[in-house]
């Protein structure tokens, strides 16, 4: 892979790029503002995947904002450029790299840096009544001062034509679910277009993190998206560990792996049950939810927390798994696995169920790739990617597992990918518990030096989580969090087209996205 990288970088258009290797194996390139979009678009065209695109306010130190693009070419390449505050704009990537669309709108909202030539420069993250000219992630924004509210209206995309009507749904929904607004343009029942409007649970997590000491930041990370506590806290801890050069003991890495896979288990089983429930197939839905509850109980028994919280700490983990406990868990898992196989068999042998899921909400590879979709959604659309295998962390490099990929791109494929992943997770947990090495649970953590940059990728149940940190004095100077949902929401806008309105909840369920993780 590294040979490819050399060649790709040599042929890159920007001769001005300054390049350096980091010790974690990533490549770092600095270009001027003009060359930034060209270089990123070039790397993307050479098969790179946009992992994240974000900014930082370094006006105090360097007199400029910086833009950062992370591209996955097998090796992660980080491209950086400075944006002068008096110009406060950069060339938009979105026309060439569709995946950059939401990132650039986010940067525009949070930093006031304007993406020049962006096809859709409306606000994305901030509330509708947020005043113009106030940018929360700039360093001169004081979060303790209340922001005035100004009446503003968000303009939805309009589809016009005979018989086309709009269906507004949300942001408050029936049932205990997160808030999000869906605006359908439909002609009768078939959906012509969908616009997803999020941001209702924007809590300012990234800003908050800049004021929280690293150790406490673990608790914040666990609360970014409640059902991905382990994934987010692992990603955060790993990034901080890289900043301070802490070597996590092997035993801790194995425990992290077990916890991460337990998280995948309960999430996927819950999602599979939810898909059955949304087709009104009540019996497997009830069985699935009961099974999820048993996994949650096992979580509590193993870690003291149903949602696997307070396990991770910077430098390692806070809890141990004894040999006897490990054996007990393994034997419990055997029973759960049998129940799960029964559930999967019931679901996929029902013609009425299959009729609902097959061909519904299709997202093909040609759309999923440019949109930068990740996780089970991408894998169900034929994209073979998984951070556990491609950028191994924790104990994954020592364990054997398969990455299930399917081509259907429909609800059926997304369900089956999850079913296969649950099977793999059972196997991974058994391997990790069985082969757990001895040793300490946590490394000694030195003080985090200021001014360093590090990131970490973790495969959460919904897909790849990224935490990217520039260190400051005792707290992160800038903490960028990229939840997998942020990459997949646009995928859903495309997947629902041509489907009928009553199939939307099922498609939405099969994407299984987090609102809180997206909104931050």
């Amino acid at each position: 892979m590294s040979v490819d990288i050399e060649e790709i970088i040599r042929e890159a258009p920007s001769g001005l790029a300054i390049r350096k290797e980091r010790d974690d194996g990533t490549v770092h390139m600095t270009v001027d503002t003009e060359g930034f979009a060209d270089l990123v678009a070039y790397l993307h065209a050479r098969g790179g995947r946009l992992v994240s695109l974000h900014a930082a306010d370094r006006r105090a130190a360097d007199g400029a904002f910086t833009m950062h693009a992370l591209i996955d070419l097998g090796v992660i390449v980080e491209v950086e450029c400075a944006v002068r505050p008096d110009r406060a704009s950069f060339h938009s990537l979105a026309p060439r790299v569709n995946a950059a669309n939401w990132y650039e709108r986010e940067v525009q909202d949070m930093f006031g840096l304007v993406p020049d030539g962006h096809p859709d420069p409306r606000p994305l993250v901030l509330y509708d009544d947020w005043p113009e000219g106030i940018y929360p992630l700039r360093k001169d924004f004081d979060p303790s001062v209340p922001v005035p509210r100004v009446p503003r209206e968000y303009r939805f995309r309009r589809v016009e034509g005979e018989g086309v009507h709009e269906i507004p749904v949300g942001p408050v929904h029936a049932g205990v679910i997160e808030p999000g607004h869906f605006r359908f343009s439909a002609a009768g029942e078939p959906i012509i277009a969908l616009e997803v409007r999020l941001g209702y649970v924007h809590r300012g997590v990234e800003k908050l993190s800049e004021s929280i000491p690293y150790r406490k930041g673990v608790f914040l990370a666990e609360r970014i998206s409640g059902d991905a506590s382990a994934a987010h806290s692992t990603a955060y801890c790993q990034a901080v560990e890289r900043l301070c050069g802490a070597e996590v003991p092997e035993r801790a890495e194995y425990i992290r792996t077990v916890v991460l896979e337990m998280e995948r288990l309960y999430n996927h089983i819950g999602d599979i049950a939810g898909i059955a429930l949304d087709t009104a197939f009540a019996v497997p839905a009830a069985d699935g939810l009961a099974l999820k509850e048993r996994v949650l109980e096992l979580n509590e028994r193993l870690t003291g927390s149903r949602l696997l919280r307070s396990v991770n700490d910077i430098g390692g983990v806070t809890m141990d798994v004894s040999r006897e406990e490990a054996m007990k868990v393994i034997s419990r898992l055997v029973g759960l696995r049998q129940q799960f196989e029964k559930l999967a068999a019931t679901m996929f042998s029902s013609t009425s169920m299959l009729d609902r899921v097959e061909g519904t909400g299709r997202l093909d590879r040609e759309k999923a790739r440019p949109l930068g979709c990740v996780g089970p959604v991408a894998r169900a659309s034929g994209i073979d990617m998984d951070a556990r295998r491609d950028h191994p962390y924790a104990a994954y490099r020592n364990l054997s597992f398969r990455v299930p990929v399917r081509d259907g791109g429909d609800v059926d494929a997304r369900t089956r990918v999850r079913v296969d992943e649950v099977r793999e997770s059972f196997a991974i947990i058994e391997q990790a518990l069985d082969g757990m090495p001895g040793g300490p649970l946590a490394a000694e953590v030195k003080e985090v030096p200021a001014g360093r940059t590090a990131f970490s990728l973790v495969e959460a149940p919904r897909g790849e989580v990224m935490h990217w940190i520039i260190s400051g004095d005792g707290t992160p100077f800038r903490h960028k969090i990229r939840d997998p949902s942020f990459c997949n929401w646009l995928g859903m806008e495309f997947a629902v087209r041509g489907n009928i309105v009553p199939d939307f909840p099922l498609i939405n369920k099969s994407f299984g996205l987090s609102y809180a993780g997206n909104d931050l």
Partner: protein, 311 residues
């Protein structure tokens, strides 16, 4: 006359319990305990004590609809033989019954449109789409029974079939019964046509039409649909399979009739619960296929009568 009155009251008062029984049976099939079969009564009592929130954009239609729906269902219930089949010709026949049920649908759909909310509009559009395909099936399957017995009076049909015994188990009867059962599922918003227990507004048919209602209005609307289900189940039990119904008003016959009726209703509730537990809801645009099957069955019932019956 007293018996007729009492049996209709029985039907009307049992209606919430039957809905409760279906829910309870479904819960058991899902491995849950589920609420008691009396829960629908408690829900209604609770709703009657709550105040109603009415959209400021709604008109008198929203106010009148719950009463109109309940009134129409109650009158429909008076047309039915329940435990005892007596002199029914006076009140009206099956044509009146079918149009009383259409009144319920009409007012429900109208009320759903009245407040101008998105989901109400979607619900009534779907309801009308479904019922426009199902209504002919319903008519035709009961007409097949009218043809077999030579009368359109519901009591007359029940009496004839019940008194002739098993001789009347003709292909017509079974075909018509199958068609009517599918119509029952469709008209009462059960799986696989609709999902009565979903919270997903976008997939709803019947429930979407009730979303604007609260308090007393909601209680009445819910009661109307529970009573409507009971009317359909009673039709199923007493028009297609009336055996066991009391043909004279003496206490022993009435007791036997009551037992037979309760058994038949329970069997039908069980059948609905089993269907709801064993399959997923169908795609909206797949429904015409199911209804086409039902319509064909009812058509065959009529054709079978002419081919087999007249000879």
């Amino acid at each position: 006359m007293i018996v007729e009155l009492l049996q209709t009251l029985l039907l009307l008062s049992l209606a919430p319990m039957v809905t409760g029984a279906i829910r309870s049976l479904k819960a058991r099939m899902q491995g849950r305990k589920g609420p008691s079969v009396l829960q629908p009564y408690r829900d209604m009592a609770k709703l009657f004590h709550k105040s109603s929130v009415v959209s400021k954009d709604s008109s008198w239609v929203s106010t009148v609809a719950p009463y109109a729906c309940v009134a129409a269902v109650v009158i429909a219930a008076f047309l039915l033989p329940v435990v005892y089949v007596g002199t029914f010709g006076l009140l009206g026949d099956l044509l009146l019954l079918i149009y009383l049920l259409a009144v319920v649908r009409f007012f429900t759909a109208l009320a759903a449109l009245d407040a101008g909310s998105t989901f109400g509009g979607m619900g009534s559009s779907r309801e009308m789409f479904i019922s426009s395909i199902v209504e002919p099936t319903m008519l035709l399957s009961i007409f097949a029974m009218a043809l077999v017995t030579g009368t359109t009076a519901l009591g007359g049909i029940a009496l004839q079939v019940a008194s002739t015994g098993l001789e009347k188990v003709e292909p017509s009867l079974l075909l018509a019964a199958a068609a009517f059962f599918i119509a029952t599922i469709a008209e009462n918003a059960r799986v696989p046509v609709d999902n009565p227990s979903t919270h997903l507004e976008l997939t709803m048919v019947h429930e979407a039409m009730l979303l604007e209602y609260s308090g007393k209005g909601l209680a009445l609307m819910e009661y109307a649909s529970m009573a409507k289900l009971m009317v359909f189940l009673t039709l199923m039990a007493n028009i297609f399979f009336p055996w066991g119904i009391a043909t004279s008003a003496d206490p022993i016959a009435l007791a036997a009739g009551l037992m037979a009726y309760l058994l038949k209703i329970f069997a039908l509730a069980l059948a609905i619960a089993v269907i709801e537990s064993s399959m997923a809801k169908m795609r909206l645009f797949r429904l015409p296929n199911l209804f086409a099957v039902a319509f064909t069955l009812s058509l065959l019932a009529v054709v079978a009568f002419y081919i087999l019956g007249v000879a």
